[in-house]
Assembly symmetry: C2
Homo-oligomer: 407 residues x 2
Amino acid sequence: MPVNIPPLSPEHLLPVAGVTLGIAEAGIKKANRKDLLVMVLNEGAKVAGVFTQNRFCAAPVIVAKQHLAQSVRALVVNTGNANAGTGESGIANAQMTCAALAKLLGIAPQQVLPFSTGVIMEPLPVDRIIQGLPAALANGKTNNWFDAAHAIMTTDIVPKAASKQVQIKGKTVTVTGIAKGSGMIRPNMATMLGYVATDAAISQSLLQKLVQHTADRSFNRITVDGDTSTNDAFIVIATGKAGNQEIYNPHTEEYCLLQDAITEVAAELAKMIVRDGEGATKFITVQVEDGKSKDECAKVAYAIAHSPLVKTAFFASDPNLGRILAAIGYAGVDDLDVDAIQLYLDDVLVAEKGGRAANYREEDGQRVMNQAEITIRVVLNRGTATTTVWTCDFSYDYVKINASYRS
Amino acid sequence: MPVNIPPLSPEHLLPVAGVTLGIAEAGIKKANRKDLLVMVLNEGAKVAGVFTQNRFCAAPVIVAKQHLAQSVRALVVNTGNANAGTGESGIANAQMTCAALAKLLGIAPQQVLPFSTGVIMEPLPVDRIIQGLPAALANGKTNNWFDAAHAIMTTDIVPKAASKQVQIKGKTVTVTGIAKGSGMIRPNMATMLGYVATDAAISQSLLQKLVQHTADRSFNRITVDGDTSTNDAFIVIATGKAGNQEIYNPHTEEYCLLQDAITEVAAELAKMIVRDGEGATKFITVQVEDGKSKDECAKVAYAIAHSPLVKTAFFASDPNLGRILAAIGYAGVDDLDVDAIQLYLDDVLVAEKGGRAANYREEDGQRVMNQAEITIRVVLNRGTATTTVWTCDFSYDYVKINASYRS
């Protein structure tokens, strides 16, 4: 079961003026499940996004990146099929989906962004998606984020959504977001699928800057299994309905307030993905401090976060902490002086001077390992850069889920 | 159980003149098991080695690298404790071990190479090792490779050893080797522990060249879990007892013959490590062809070989082959044209032109996936470089073994 995710209820998710969400059961992979989401945006809404850097990026990612240059009026998301590794016919299917939705809405196909998630390298059942569109539009409403969070799930056990309000120059600005993802999670630009909407008014160029800032502090800081998906996308929508003056200057209080609110919602969603990581029983924060650069901190953090040996030791609550030292050592930081490093588990100093700390006692390590939430802190003592990565442990259930995903 | 390793019997392992092997039960971690190996070499034997590139390299690795500059006369290997992450006292313990063995043999401490394998970050029980040395020396004999292979095991299920003879200019040259390793296997220079001895005569400088050549074609081509150990070491011993003229020129038939024989034994040992990979049920060869460079081929091969999603699909015999495309896509080859790539499973063309191959049928993929030995072939179609990596699948038992390793 997911690690410490409080149950989601519809009333916690605030509508964002200008965003209408409709859901349908299109029977894409399985019957009788919500598998199609359509988001319709007001005229004048600004949309920015970041996408997977996987070279085998999915057809909808290719199409969505092209369409982002237009004024976006709708998003269509299907689960059950990733439309990835599908070649030219995959592109055509994504475009047909956009065209069908555009026709129903009376807009141009280029104003629709398509997204898909699910199994890779199987043809997209585009007919079923197109047949499901009218039903999705028919139940569209602004207070539909709860059902929308359900409609984009694949191997997720729980839906993921978060909301926040912030006062900006006397106006109440709302931020609400949903995300999905559980396996094939080592986002590079963004997670599998994440959507955050706000009613704030902000310029297009600043929104693009904001989405990158936010991704780098949320979805780009998590990993479940190190597998970067073909379909990662993180989208921020700003409808401009809050009544605030359009924000165009990054060096203002109002930009910082909005950026922090959106980053907070995105980070909450990102951590939910880890807490619901396939087979996860522990939520692990890896914090690497005092490095020469963020890049070397990230190398060390990801080496720890991806090590199957570290992850299985956490699953077993076994303070076999030498495995963390080994991961630090092979992280690829060539001139690392291992004698200068300190390793902490929460507040317990485990290792320093190249070996076990003099006062370290196994029972102290054991006490921390027994917890469901653990922070691994590595102090490199050679600079001022810091990076945090969130990950989970590695259990029987990860193997079970992924050995039977298609069946 | 290990994948297709034929049972080892003592008579298959040929003695190498000049190498005496003695084994003892020193009680390092558990009572009543062979956990100490001493190899004594003839005067004039040449020794060369390659070691882990993990920055947290173990104390015995640091000491062995220093001692390799001398004329080596003995090697001492303990299992049950890695003497890694042990700081200055770890170095002192490795040196004390060398000094104790040197005293018994009447040689200098610098003529002894120490090796340790087992749990990390626990103090080496050096007293027990030193107490065990006389017993190990007492049963020393040249036809002791079988017991030696047992004495260096940790989580290995089966012992790993191989022998070969080759005729060089009318002289019979013998090559015999042993290795251990099962988890924390993504050697970078060499595997956890591998020792290959030959009675050939060869110059010291050429032997160092040979050990690197051999490692790059054997232990550096395998991965179980992507975790590079702190203790990897691969050592080649040449006793010069075969009676051949000393080989000093790499551009000769005799060098090629010897190099091939040693590489063949080392590759056989390396593949045994994968076949006995923790929890392995399949032996997988990943072959990446027609790349621009060996480096980019290796990036693609290791991305596939380390992907938990690919490895669990193989465990399940599930031809969910889009996961392989995803791994190719995130391998870090920035200008890769995915439309130009062909993916084969054994002889079955699975994907091309960015998607599923027109003639691919699921039952063909299923047929190959059901096998215990599978080759993944990726043709990049942009150069002439090729790389092969050997790996195994990822099963419940990997998690089980590593969640309970210390208990």
